[in-house]
């Protein structure tokens, strides 16, 4: 259910634009209703369209994150003995104001806004940050001469200096149709546009949000819009792309497919589209499937092509892929359509020929791209339920015939506003007239009546003409089409020719005389009349559609759609997903049932517990055959019998023992595990084996779990489900995790949660963390953050943000161990990488023939494992491929234009350009795969995130907002507003400006916000408070010993950071009056990730932790000995791992009976620091003891495996 919602866009025959959400049930009128459209082409983040004025518009969705662009220019100065540094430069020098290269003269006032859709965010200011280091006042950097290397320090020989000025501009026209303004010479401007298609976002991810926008002009020419990307949503200019003939219509897929149709009825296919050439190189021609009827319309997806021929027949193109964009042959599909559109996932929609309804193609799957049947979408319009909506539609209908949109609009609004019109409503007779005619009539009475009536009249002759033409021979067909579609000059009758297609359906309704209408009706009564008429239709008359675009609409097999049943009386807001508590849960009837049931139990049972139970509880045994990773060498899988015996104790509680029976040298033996000792059961899906690992505290110490494998996934899940339930039962754990729960994520994306005992953080006898019991929660995430008020958020590998719903179970945990409510479908997408390796030889240059000692020519990153495109499988059977293999241009070190990285030899460090010394090269191929599972998570659209932090605890009441900060995957710093316990997803994002992208953020218990920038420097945000949630400004904090930082975590008062070399640092000297602290103290190495909690407890994911068998990476570790006076702690305690990726302890504020921490703890700790110096020195040795490391590189084969 929680599929991210996305939108289907459509235009009705009156030019009104509607959207239908994948989680909605009603068509909603586009927010900006000023214009009527004839074409729209949508992608996820925006929609492009051609309005009736033949102009191109783009509709960019509003978001909480602004679209901003940084303009920069450099101020250059030279030193001279007289004036010191001054503006006087040498004649050979660069301009006083220039770009970074010094070659281009650019003064501050030479920068102008690119279009009326932009505004300046602030005035110009000097950038005082150079490479993550604060510069001296004024932001100057010095050098001996231009151009040279600049340093932030002035030296004796510094003769020149420069500084960077920056200014941000912001795109403001969001959630409205923004007209694309052209700066081209008027004679080079394209003629009016006729069709548009947007796609190509999968071709390359550089620059961010790049799109291919293709348009067709009325003269049949094809245009490509240059430079459309996230921070330039309008693009810059139109380039003409030559075509072999006159083009009617064009369709651009998400990847490299681009097809267009010609007047002559053939299709042309663009070839050579790739990352370096998004416009492609050449055209090839594909003939129409039928010789009599040419292709009228074509639509393409990732690797599918659908077309409609002039006889309205629908065809599917076989054999289309990246290497063969033309495909092989056409197959005819059932149904007659006006047009079709292919959306994300290759899903298909069409507009029915007879009824103008929108149909959705059912059963389109990767294995059956052509789908099964057409199913009509019967969703009503939101506007059908309200009169204002209806009158808006009336407006549009009227406007459609007039030249002056604005006048007409205001005229009819006036009519609708007349209060008398409402009262007249019931008395009016229902009319069978179509809204189109009413619209025409309304217009007929308006100021533009003459134009409208005359425009209306020629329609009929034209219709009959068209009727004749279709009945006539095929040779006439072309003429007919040309007449309909290619008016070269926009005079009124020519314009009518194209709208007549859209109006054809109007003819189906009994035609009322326009003149009689106009004679008898006043404007206001007409307005009311049409409202009444539409209401009459509301229930059973569906909207008539002219165009549909599915390019931004994501539907997959698991999304239940509400489009196919007529909307019931329930309001859509009740049905739409919401994290807030649904009315059913708060209803009085529900409360009463819970209350009465507990009263009943009390009444009927309390005094009678000593009575005998009627049904004896017996031992219950489940047995089965599994495979076991035997614990003697050579280790291998062996067949075993397994039995789980469940007993019911006298107290009614269950306990269970798992027996594993095996043969050892022909002797029957067994091992057994009490399930109340099991600390975790982890699914280990690899080697195509359905296996899982079972840990006890002892086995966690040994890093040697019991590993079992089942023959099928189903069988494994049955066992996992049962074993998990038995473990929970024996520990009396049921229901959702508490607010204090500790959450962790494995490198497989599996989610685990543990209830902390009070002895975990304090007490005479600390509980070792290998005794923590972890249970799985459904879903797939990369990281999770929580706080002690039960607000939990996660981020997927695809950067989607998810909020925890309060449920439990999901995934394989079925039935009763899973909550009935609050479990939703969840999906995630990640990449699988393989490497293509080549060696240079003098004869053929680089080739795939390596030396005998070389690695495989297709391998994994290490080169040890052969990985070819065909033999590489998705990570587990739960994953399925969602893309083809493509070259990945993003590996560290950079690549050349073909994606190659060069090195002297394997394995070495690779760089992105070829040098004389390089003899080997490699390139990385990626392929996306997707998992669809379920769990207690609901998406928080639309901003995708990189990091999050939730304020660990606050004593505020439940209603008060919870501070939540995040970093978007683009590096923007965001602050979530409206997050409460009742509404953990919050309401909106507040953007916090930064001068560079950020990667990590953390907020402490007292609103101390720390962040790490992408360049590895740390920042402190000043003055954050409940009343000022975004604070005021950033303070730069120098990194420890020039290390580049990657993560920060702030607990109650402690601040820890982690650098890119795995060192953990503690911030010394933080006091309430000096929250930035003074110095960094080294705490430990080998750390991958850390979490500092509300008790200032420190937990990490450590690497290279030794076990008795091997090293393991990704192990949960707990810092022991953390005290108010010893915030860095003393040593590590080792818990579950390896294969762990992330942990958050920020919900755990459970203090043991240590007594309340005094409120002044922070002052105490700071003040007493000096006095404690000696003692801390004594402890330094201990605390600096590194995490256990061994040089051996043996991998932990028993761990989850990263």
């Amino acid at each position: 259910m929680a599929m991210p919602s996305s939108l289907l866009w459509a235009v009705d025959i009156f030019g009104r634009v509607y959207t239908l959400s994948t989680v909605g049930q009603y068509w909603e009128l586009c927010k900006d209703t000023q214009l009527e459209f004839k074409r729209v082409s949508a992608v996820k983040q925006c929609c492009w369209g051609i309005a009736c004025d033949h102009q191109v518009y783009t509709y960019v969705f509003s978001g909480d994150v602004p679209i901003r662009y940084q303009e920069e220019t450099y101020e250059n100065q030279r030193w001279n003995p007289v004036g010191g540094f001054c503006e006087k430069l040498l004649p050979s020098d660069r301009w006083q104001w220039s770009d970074v290269s010094g070659l281009k003269y650019q003064q501050l006032d030479s920068f102008t806004l690119p279009s009326p859709h932009w505004e300046w965010e602030s005035d110009w200011y000097v950038d005082e940050n150079i490479g993550g280091e604060p510069t001296e006042k004024g932001g100057w950097t010095y050098a001996i001469d231009f151009p040279s290397t600049y340093t932030k320090d002035k030296r004796w020989n510094s003769c020149v200096r420069r500084r960077r000025w920056i200014r941000y501009r912001r795109y403001k026209s969001r959630d409205i149709w923004a007209k694309i303004v052209s700066h081209d010479e008027p004679d080079q401007l394209p003629d009016p546009f006729n069709d548009i298609s947007v796609g190509g976002w999968e071709i390359t991810d550089e620059p961010l949000g790049r799109l291919s926008v293709w348009a067709v002009s009325l003269q049949g020419r094809v245009w490509y819009r240059e430079n459309v990307c996230h921070h330039n949503p309008e693009g810059s200019t139109w380039s003409l792309v030559t075509t072999p003939g006159e083009v009617v219509q064009i369709s651009c897929g998400p990847y490299d497919l681009l097809w267009a149709t010609l007047w002559e009825g053939q299709a042309i296919v663009r070839e050579g589209i790739d990352r370096n050439n998004p416009q492609g190189i050449s055209w090839s021609t594909v003939e129409s499937p039928s010789s009599e009827n040419g292709i009228m319309h074509v639509s393409v997806g990732v690797d599918v092509v659908w077309c409609v021929t002039k006889d309205r027949k629908v065809w599917f193109r076989r054999g289309v892929n990246s290497h063969n964009p033309c495909g092989t042959s056409w197959i005819e599909m059932v149904g007659e359509m006006m047009m079709v559109t292919v959306g994300l996932n290759n899903q298909v929609w069409g507009i029915g020929c007879d009824d103008r309804a929108i149909y959705f193609r059912q059963g389109v799957t990767p294995s059956e791209l052509s789908g099964k049947t057409w199913k009509a979408i019967v969703s009503g319009r939101e506007s059908d339920r309200s009169q204002t909506g209806s009158s808006t539609s009336l407006l549009s209908a009227g406007c459609f015939f007039t030249d002056d949109i604005q006048n007409q609009t205001s005229a009819v609004i006036q009519g609708d506003a007349d209060p008398s019109s409402d009262t007249e409503l019931p008395g009016l007779p229902p009319s069978p007239a179509s809204p189109a005619l009413l619209g025409a009539a309304a217009a007929g009475d308006g100021p533009a009546s003459q134009a409208a009536t005359s425009a209306r009249l020629p329609v009929d002759p034209l219709h009959s003409e068209q009727g004749e033409a279709t009945a006539a021979s095929a040779s006439n067909d072309k003429d007919n089409l040309e007449m309909n579609k290619s008016p070269a000059n926009p005079n009124p009758s020519a314009e009518l020719q194209w709208i007549n297609i859209d109006l054809k359906e109007a003819q189906k309704h009994p035609v009322l005389s326009v003149s009689s209408f106009a004679d008898t009706s006043s404007l206001s009564s007409l307005g009311a009349f049409s409202v009444g008429a539409e209401d009459q239709y509301g229930a059973d008359e569906h909207p008539l559609w002219a165009w549909v675009s599915g390019g931004g609409c994501l539907v997959d097999l698991h999304s239940p759609l509400k489009w196919f049943t007529a909307p019931s009386g329930l309001s859509s807001s009740v049905q739409s997903l919401s994290l807030s508590i649904t009315p059913a849960q708060t209803a009085a009837w529900r409360k009463q049932i819970f209350q009465q049931l507990s009263e009943r139990t009390k009444r009927e049972l309390e005094n009678f517990r000593h009575y005998e139970q009627a049904i004896e509880q017996s031992v219950w045994v489940k047995t089965g055959a599994l495979q076991w990773w035997r614990n003697w060498k050579p280790h291998k899988w062996m067949d075993v019998r397994v039995a789980l015996e469940q007993f019911t104790g006298s107290d009614g509680m269950r306990d269970s023992i798992l027996f594993i029976y095996y043969m050892y040298h022909e002797e029957k033996k067994y091992i057994h595990v009490f399930l109340n000792e099991v600390t975790i059961i982890v699914e280990v899906l690899n080697e195509a084996k359905h296996s899982f690992a079972l840990y006890t505290p002892e086995r966690t110490k040994q890093r040697w779990p019991i590993r079992l494998a089942a023959a099928t996934e189903q069988e494994m899940h049955d066992w996992l489900s049962l074993l998990n339930m038995s473990c929970c039962e024996s520990r009396r754990i049921q229901g959702p995790p508490s607010h204090h729960a500790i959450w962790s994520v494995t490198c497989k994306g599996d989610i685990f949660v543990s209830e902390p005992s009070p002895e975990l953080e304090a007490g005479p006898q600390l509980m070792p963390c290998d005794q923590m019991f972890w249970r799985q929660v459904g879903g797939h995430l990369r990281l999770i953050e929580s706080n002690s008020r039960g607000v939990v958020w996660g981020i997927g590998y695809d950067h989607t943000a998810w909020a925890y719903t309060g449920g439990y179970g999901g995934g394989f945990i079925q039935g009763l161990a899973s909550s009935a409510d609050n479990i939703y479908t969840q999906s995630d997408v990640k990449c699988v990488y393989i490497y293509e390796n080549q060696r240079w030889n003098p004869v053929t240059g680089y080739s795939s023939r390596g030396l005998p000692t070389d690695r495989y020519m297709w391998s994994d990153a290490s080169g040890l494992q052969e990985c070819t495109k065909t033999n590489t499988k998705p990570p587990s059977p739960q994953w399925s491929w969602v893309s083809d293999w493509y070259i990945d241009f993003s590996p560290a070190g950079g690549t050349d234009r073909e994606g190659w990285q060069y090195a002297a030899d394997f394995p070495a460090s690779y760089h992105g350009h070829k040098t004389m010394k390089d003899f080997v090269r490699r390139r990385r191929w990626a392929r996306k795969c997707k998992i669809v599972t379920n769990g207690p998570w609901l998406e928080v659209p639309p901003v995708t995130l990189w990091d999050i932090s939730i304020i660990p605890s606050s004593d505020a009441d439940d209603e008060e907002a919870v501070a939540l900060w995040a970093i978007s995957d683009k590096g923007d710093v965001l602050c979530r507003l409206g997050v409460t316990q009742q509404n953990p997803a919050g309401t909106s994002w507040l953007h916090v400006g930064t001068d560079q992208p950020f990667i990590s953020i953390s907020i402490g218990a007292f609103y101390q916000v720390w962040a790490i920038a992408r360049d590895g420097s740390a920042f402190y945000r000043g003055s954050v408070s409940p009343n000022k949630p975004a604070g005021d400004c950033w303070y730069h904090i120098p990194s420890p010993q020039k290390q580049k930082l990657k993560q920060v975590s702030v607990g109650r008062t402690s601040v820890f950071v982690l650098d890119k070399n795995g060192n953990l640092w503690y911030r010394q000297g933080i006091t309430p009056s000096y929250p930035q602290g003074s110095t960094w103290d080294h705490v430990s190495n080998n750390i991958r990730k850390m979490s500092v909690g509300p008790l200032d407890q420190v937990w990490v994911i450590a690497d290279k932790v030794q076990g008795s068998h091997s090293l393991s990476c990704g192990t949960v570790c707990h810092r022991i000995g953390v005290q108010p006076l010893e915030p860095k702690g003393l040593s590590w305690d080792y818990g579950i791992g390896g294969g762990w990726e992330h942990i958050t302890v920020r919900g755990n504020a459970t203090e043991a009976s240590r007594g309340a921490v005094p409120d002044t703890a922070e002052e105490n700790s700071a003040a007493s620091k000096e006095g404690e110096d000696e003692e801390s020195k004594r402890k330094t040795e201990h605390s600096k003891a590194p995490l256990m490391v061994s040089e051996s590189q043996e991998l932990d084969r028993n761990s989850v495996n990263c």
Binding site: L597, S598, E604, Y611, A614, M725, A820
Partner: protein, 275 residues
């Protein structure tokens, strides 16, 4: 937040403390002690009274023992009604434990069905489930199940294994998301005051206008007498599992959460105690 799952548990683990006494006219060799037992509300008398039977047979002569039957204050108790229903219908608002009289003679042929073995109970139970699914899903779900799933439902009930039962029964409680509910609600309404065994009609969970039907809607439709009021006071109690859900409770929710294991909502209408 309380979970709807807890309702299923409460319903399943409902117990009625019961005192079984032998009918005074039964011929015994020595005096029989009463027998105390916690009876599961959702089970059937003849399924859970093996111990009772054994207890009383010990004091009787073999030749006097024929089919066991139970009676409460003169009313023979139908074994094919769930125990909770029998209690709600006949013994609500009385002091606990529930006092049931045990008979071994004079089987009331016109009131009770014979129950010679547990197979008879199983057959009755499965027939009810199938009937309920015919109403809910046109029998599609139950027919798609395997024989072992059917067996698991029965074994779950017989052995009082909540998880075992619900692992399968869950599927019987599902419906397509676009439907908002079952096709018809399987329910039976019993009235203590009439001769008619029960009322059962076709009733949809969702009104044609899309609103959820409530318990009140159901009663208004099929048993208006149950909710008529005199002097502003309702003269009857509408009981399910020993509680009186509010008339505003959606019937679909009740069907999903408060049906007996046979998948029917067994609703008792009894006179409201005057005090």
């Amino acid at each position: 937040m309380t979970d709807d799952k807890d309702v299923l548990r409460d319903v399943w683990f409902g117990r009625i403390p019961t005192c079984f006494t032998l009918y005074q006219d039964e011929i015994t060799e020595r005096e029989a002690d009463p027998y105390y037992l916690l009876l599961p509300r959702i089970s059937y008398l003849t399924l859970v009274t093996d111990k009772v039977k054994k207890h009383f047979q010990k004091v009787m002569r073999q030749e006097e023992v024929s089919e066991i039957w139970f009676e409460y204050e003169g009313t023979p108790l139908k074994w094919h009604y769930p125990i909770g229903l029998l209690f709600d219908l006949h013994a609500s608002n009385t002091a606990l434990p529930w006092s049931i009289t045990v008979h071994f003679k004079n089987f009331p042929e016109k009131d009770l069905l014979h129950c010679h073995s547990k197979d008879v109970i199983e057959a009755h139970f499965m027939a009810c489930i199938k009937e309920a699914d015919a109403l809910k899903h046109k029998s599609q779900v139950i027919n798609e199940m395997q024989k072992k799933d059917h067996k698991q439902l029965w074994m779950g009930l017989q052995n009082d294994k909540f998880e075992q039962f619900w692992a399968i029964n869950r599927k019987l409680m599902e419906y397509p998301p676009e439907d908002n509910g079952f096709r018809y609600i399987p329910f039976r309404i019993y009235q203590a005051t009439t001769e008619r065994p029960f009322i059962q009609k076709l009733f949809r969970p969702i009104a044609s206008g899309g609103q959820l039907h409530t318990l009140g809607d159901l009663l208004k439709d099929v048993c208006p007498s149950a909710i008529t009021t005199e002097d502003g006071e309702q003269k009857t109690q509408v009981m399910i599992h020993g509680i009186e859900p509010m008339l505003e409770t959606p019937i679909q929710w009740l069907s999903e959460h408060m049906s007996y294991p046979d998948n029917f909502l067994h609703i008792s209408i009894i006179p409201r105690p005057t005090d």
